[in-house]
Symmetry: D5
Subunit: 149 residues, 10 copies
């Protein structure tokens, strides 16, 4: 019996390694971005029945696992508050070094409020560069203002 | 006697509030992006003598404070490992929810390595949207591969 | 020179004690709810120029302090991640004991998404009860759905 | 052999996913609120023999599991002190941002004491709104005063 | 200007050392228990105007300090989550070693609920004993049951 | 093969639930207090051979489990440094709120030293009260003075 | 006004450096061990009036500081839970590496109980050794058994 | 397949309980101190092939387990940074209370450097005492000076 | 089914102990440094198909395990933020004691930037010394400057 | 009055910035390595009277500050257990990623023991490289074996 979404994520990951599946191919089948698709397969998003069925076919999942994919998961993909993996740590470092900068500039432009992490999308692209290719990431989040009441 | 860069940052911030200075104006004077400029004024970057002199004029800094601006600072702008401010927390949340997604997709495209947080730039823009304006952020970091030796 | 919003908050609090000011009276002058007013005075909200001027009169603040009130503050009002004060801890306990319950029921009603803590209001009232009066709190937050992209 | 309430909770959750049971239906069978019912099923409340029997039928539990439902559980539903799940984090953020506000206003109205988290009830409702539906939550807790002795 | 109750506590403590005042004498003047009196003087309880005036006379406090004594304080008297002082640690150890025991026995006698830490009193006495005197502590807290709703 | 006392504790707890055994009945068979008995069964005390044999009969333990009961255990019954369970948390709160009070009063009466948590006993009783029954707990610990050397 | 024992410790330490005083000389004047004397001067022990007066003369302390020396201090001399200083860390490492060994051997010899850290003495000596002198430390603590009740 | 030294430690411990083996008897067979022997059996030391064979006979270990005993282990025997077990905590408390004292006295006698925790030995003995037997522990560590370079 | 790289690491480690394989021999077969090879086998580096096949032969790995070796792993080899193992702790201590020194000297020589931990190599050698052999470690990392933008 | 070595370090650092002193020049005057010299000036090493006098002249220190330089300091130069500064973090990352590798290779070459962080030296050099200069660091620490006793 499957007792958590986490178990489904592990099945997906080990099947991916064993079969050599690529996230971009899964995204292509779902007709969605590779970013949302990967997050969903890694247990961070709930899927519709149709999406879950497609993912289930790709990774040969049981009906029970497909049912779990449709449940809103307990989110958070990192095992420690400060991530130890160098790639992910660089992002944590960006938040730590540039956090107050981001805060100041958004407030200067928009006033008090936040950039939503829910009404949000992300796009990761390779930018060829003769001095070494670059990773370009575009983040887009709706601005939500604090209001008086 | 000024004993740390942190003191200079506090002087800059209180002068900014008292005089109503905008980061984008400081950036304009430095002829640099508003992102780098703000990070530098908030104590995360070392400035050249010329840059420090300009910033010193804007914020009426003493020679000693201007000297501190040219020293590579002890970086990190947040008082706690998990930030409490809602705007900055949303970014921490992105790292937590999307961290493994970013890792997977960069590895799928580039192989093992990282996206540099040093050879890096950031651009924050307002994107008008009838359903509510959006914050668009473009991050660009050089890919650094792990190599055998 | 005032170096942070936190200093303004301390001035407000000590003046409040010395003069015996009530939050509800401040709210009345601002023509806003006592909940938003108190949060603003305790350093969690940015005020408009008009609001800041009124608060400045009530608490005899300097122009510099009034300027700080109009800056979006670094939010978070608690000195420790798990609060030690019994009244505030009870709220932390509610999140700890009922957290997964709230999550399940909001997802059951709305699907995957969150209840906003930004587009949000709170109303605290005394409810007379012969067995001992009760504290009634109404929280209202906009539902923000996760979407595919 | 079942060694903790936590195991019963996992069985309930996986059965719920597999059978597509709704919390509000369970609450209906118990003739209790959906909030208490969900908290109880998620391992935060002790049930009476009658309640446990009904829940046992709904989720096809063994006699041993039904016995565990009647034991006062070790409460606390979150895996980390600061929750990583965005929905639950928003509640933690409310405590962090509004914690001192809540404290001030309850003390202003009632004097020193707390709002009970034991003699307590919660009601979560959807409020239709043309700008986007809202989550309305009513919390009601008895005020308990500190007394001299 | 006094900016927090904590400052008043420090004034009380240093005056106590300088003048050689005893807590039991303060309690005698307040006609209250030495336990409540000490907790109040150490910044954990709010005092009435009359109580604050008496304490103010004993410790030669300013009017401003006396005003602070009447405000419900931010409670919690320990600088670290796990106390380092050996006397206080022994109490933390009791909670750690006997915590589940206390929980089991209260539940066995009363059912699910808690022993209140608000509607609560404590009495500390010396018990002469030829093998070495003992510290006897009587704790009395109202039982608060969890109820269904 | 049983690899830790913790496994024995889990067997005792699950047998207790399955058979509906009461701690006070176990204590009666051991002719010891219910407090010590419960702590011992929950893995916090070492038992003599005779005591372990009686407990073994009550909970149908194997010889190996009975042998483990006679080993001095690695003590500490709580999964986190700050307990999440509301009942146990109230005790942690008492240490946090009253910790310095207890320290001051024991020092005022006895001088520098501690109240032993080893040469210690505890007695938990229900005190009937028309306003709601109370939990009365008597703690008795030998005073151990610090000495010069 | 001196507000804590910690301030007295800092005065003692800075006077010691300025005047080049040795702990062993202070101990000689007190006619006590250098270990107890140093711990007392570093704020970990309460002194009698006579002892405090002698220490006050050695370090030119004010009457107020001498009064503070006679108060039982809030003990614990380290700024972090895991010490960063290499000399002190080696002792933490001994507890970490040998902790279970010490536990096993004391229990094998004495049964369940502890070695007291209160009824305790320590003696640190240099042991000449041709391969490099050694630090020899003798710790002596009374065994305190757990008893049934 | 045995995957860590930790598994071997658990086998040794459970066999010790089941067979009633004493550490001092194992030490006698190894012709080494009971302190080193216990630490080695508890997974803190690497054994030679001869030593591992003897330990393997005493505890009926497999060849694979005996091979693991000869590998330098990942050391550290405690599950938490601050130990919860009262006996081991007393040692942590000694480091916390006397840490700066030990540091001062070693520096006063030897200059800057440390007492080695590697070139180190420990001897635990029972000292009979009419007021209650004492645990005497002798620690001996080589002094290692910091040098300029 | 193998669910993580960590499982492969455990298989490699237990096979290494059982068969008595040396890391330097594995490195020799891979024609790479022993440092990179060990890090890769311990789950910190991704291997090419050819490298993974060779490692698979040495440690008798399944095809699935060999596939896992080619995936960029979640890096970080330590179970706690501050390592408890004395050998590894000494390295953490070096970072703690010399961290600001390293920072100052690299900035003095190169300006603001970092020494890469990705474009990096390490070489560990034994240096014979009559006073006791030494461990010599050469670290080489590319300097990456912060730039304005 | 100077109350800690930390104050001396801050005076040295602010004088260094104000006067534009270089660590390598200080080292030249002391006729010692720039690594040891910087660590000593940053409060991690004790200086001899002669060394302290020279450093005192360079940084215009008072006699009291020069006296503090000769005291063995409480070592540890980082404000948090996991450093936030990117340059220093890269070193923490090396310990985290390569920690078990270093451990394995030192044990393979030397047996069980550690590389000393006391009998230790470090040399940091710039290595010109057409693809970008490199930071080369040579660490040399005496091997200290664990021995039986």
């Amino acid at each position: 019996m499957i007792q958590s979404r986490d178990e489904v994520t592990k099945i997906i990951c080990s099947t991916k390694v064993a079969k050599g599946i690529k996230w971009s191919d899964v995204a292509h089948k779902l007709e969605l971005s590779k970013e949302w698709t990967t997050a969903a397969c890694l247990g961070q998003m709930a899927l519709t029945k149709e999406q879950a069925t497609i993912v289930g076919e790709v990774f040969s999942l049981s009906d029970e696992a497909i049912a779990w994919l449709q449940i809103a998961p307990y989110k958070g993909s990192l095992p420690t508050a400060v991530p130890t993996d160098p790639l992910i740590y660089r992002w944590y470092e960006l938040v730590n070094v540039y956090g107050t900068t981001i805060k100041e500039l958004i407030h200067e432009e928009f006033g008090d409020g936040i950039m939503s992490a829910i009404d949000f999308s992300m796009d990761i692209q390779r930018e060829p560069d003769p001095k070494g290719d670059r990773v370009n990431v575009v983040l887009s989040g709706k601005f939500l203002p604090y209001k008086t009441y």
